[in-house]
């Protein structure tokens, strides 16, 4: 087995007494696409925020490339090579698309000229090169999702966390999103996707970790996950049972 890029050891987090994550352990292999799935309230977002440094877990350890990162904060996590997008799009609306991505590129370079060159490259990867000088607020919703990805990519992550990047898109838009995710992985970047849209996610991911009520319910390949009776009861059952 290849070296893990990310390891979670018994990660726990509670908010004012309510447990969001309980004793969660798993590892992410370098180069894979891992799906983090589960019904609403399963604890996906808080786990995601713990990995990206936005929140500090109460217990357990998170290792990125062998080094502990819990408690370092989002800035240090990004500097070390963990990029993230937001479920609710958070573009810098007073800036153009290119300027948005340049903010990310400045994580690695000092000069605006270099940041611009890198940002333009990333925009081309994300299919937004034609929109470089458009104000961010004027983008369509799927374009805004791409901008989120482009901005995170500009920080040159080795691990990219995508928060519900495909949710709320039309099937065509979602397929374009899938192609983008594959293109990013082809650049050697490991990806963790939090997602609700099972139909699109399952063929895309190498492995899935299923959360339910804050605990890890199952872990395995998409084929294993969809046949796991507990997963069907907890997640697919809730969703499709009506």
């Amino acid at each position: 087995m290849a070296e893990p890029i990310l390891e979670l050891h018994s990660v726990s987090k509670s908010f004012s007494g309510v447990a969001a994550n309980v004793d969660i352990s798993f590892a992410v292999t370098r180069g894979e696409i891992l799906g983090l799935i589960g019904p609403n309230g399963a604890g996906k977002s808080s786990l995601f925020n713990s990995i990206s440094g936005a929140i500090v877990p109460d217990g357990g350890a998170i290792l990125f490339e062998g080094k502990p990162i819990s408690g370092l904060g989002p800035v240090a996590c990004t500097k070390r090579g963990i990029g993230r997008t937001f479920q609710v799009v958070r573009s810098f609306d007073s800036m153009t698309v290119l300027e948005n991505v340049m903010v990310g590129a400045f994580a690695r370079v000092q000069r605006a000229r270099h940041a611009m060159a890198r940002a333009l490259e990333v925009l081309a990867v994300c299919g937004l090169d034609g929109r470089a000088d458009t104000p961010a607020h004027a983008l369509t919703p799927p374009e805004k999702r791409r901008l989120e990805v482009a901005r995170a990519l500009a920080t040159e992550p080795r691990l990219l966390l995508l928060d519900e990047m495909l949710t709320g898109l039309t099937p065509t838009e979602a397929q374009e999103g899938v192609q983008l995710v594959r293109a990013i992985r082809a650049r050697g970047i490991t990806i963790i996707m939090v997602e609700h849209v099972m139909e699109i996610l399952l063929p895309l991911i190498d492995r899935a970790v299923v959360l339910h009520l804050g605990r890890k319910l199952a872990e395995g390949s998409p084929a294993e996950i969809v046949q796991n009776p507990e997963v069907i009861r907890a997640y697919l059952g809730d969703r499709y049972g009506t």
């Binding site: 007073s94 400045f106 994580a107 000092q110 961010a136 901005r151």
Partner: protein
């Protein structure tokens, strides 16, 4: 790499801004020459001063989104520092203004240290309260003549001391240089990493952090530069008027007057403070001159009403009239 050499909208826009700035500088340098009216010349001097002050405020309030209602503090520190150094120790104001500017920057850092941890409107309230406290302190501080203020005696005509027998025309160029330098600082900021970071902080703190933008140092950097620019303005003003007292140095109305041109002209824009000052300062001065004598503050009411009308008609600032980048839009619409 060939991509980086292609001049895109950003580089083109920045070149055009420099060109417009240079043309404007020449025009403003020539502006007072055909004007004989001393009052009118004085009005222009004041407008240029406020263009610089508002640009300084804009660095923190406009680009970084930290709304300060206490910028008179930095103005007052600059004014009092250079004035005291000059009147008590004979240090020329051209040197004293740098000391004042440095102390103003330091004060901005001291204000920011506790209050940048506050979010949203609390920063504005904190600066308001600190500004009021500073005014009270100076009013009761014997060393700086308390409420009496300090008069700067005239010695001799001197550029080093910024003292002139007929002050208006020399100060036209002093204030023009001040406004121009403030503008250039803002222009440089817009093209630098700090400028990008500050706008990111203003637009969305969480997203900025996720892109490795350190929020607190970003705000502190913006505050110190903003304070430094404002402090210089204070020192120049004191030298121009020849007198400084707690109200004209630290008053709340001054804090508002420093912020308003940027707000009305367009926050977070390069031209907003200049345009705002060009509209507001003559308006304020003329309404005070025509109506202020009647008492009852009719001038302030009219001034206030005009600001409300402007804010309603042009919420993105007057700068949007010119079709250049407005704060909300960030749009380039002036092709052709």
């Amino acid at each position: 790499m060939s991509l980086s050499l292609r001049p895109n909208a950003i580089t083109k826009r920045r070149r055009r801004e420099l060109l417009v700035g240079a043309v404007l500088l020449v025009l403003l340098a020539l502006l007072p020459l055909p004007i004989g009216n001393v009052y009118l010349r004085g009005l222009i001097v004041l407008t240029l001063l406020y263009a610089g002050l508002a640009q300084g405020w804009n660095v923190l309030g406009g680009y970084c989104g930290q709304i300060s209602l206490g910028h008179a503090l930095y103005f007052g520190i600059g004014a009092y520092t250079s004035t005291i150094l000059f009147t008590r120790f004979g240090i020329p104001p051209t040197l004293g203004l740098f000391v004042g500017s440095g102390l103003a920057a330091l004060a901005a850092l001291l204000v920011g240290w506790p209050s940048f941890r506050l979010s949203g409107h609390y920063y504005a309230i904190a600066t308001l309260v600190i500004g009021l406290m500073a005014e009270l302190l100076v009013q009761n501080w014997g060393f700086v003549n308390a409420a009496m203020g300090i008069t700067i005696p005239f010695h001799a005509q001197s550029w080093l001391d910024l003292e002139f027998r007929v002050a208006v025309l020399p100060f036209h160029y002093v204030m023009l240089a001040y406004a121009a330098i403030a503008w250039i600082i803002a222009w440089l900021i817009e093209g630098s990493r700090w400028g990008f970071y500050w706008r990111a902080v203003k637009d969305d703190v969480e997203a900025a952090q996720s892109l490795a933008v350190r929020i607190f140092p970003s705000k502190m950097a913006a505050a110190s530069i903003s304070g430094a620019i404002t402090g210089v303005g204070g020192a120049l003003y004191a030298q121009y008027i020849g007198f400084i007292d707690p109200d004209s140095g630290f008053g709340l109305s001054l804090s508002v007057l420093i912020a308003l041109p940027a707000v009305v002209g367009g926050v977070g824009t390069l031209w907003g403070p200049l345009i705002g000052a060009a509209v507001l300062i003559p308006l304020q001065q003329l309404s005070a001159a025509w109506l202020g004598g009647a008492g009852g503050g009719v001038d302030l009411m009219i001034y206030g009403a005009l600001i409300v009308v402007l804010a309603l008609a042009r919420p993105q600032g007057l700068v949007s009239l010119f079709g250049v980048r407005s704060q909300a839009g960030g749009e380039v619409m002036d092709n052709g």
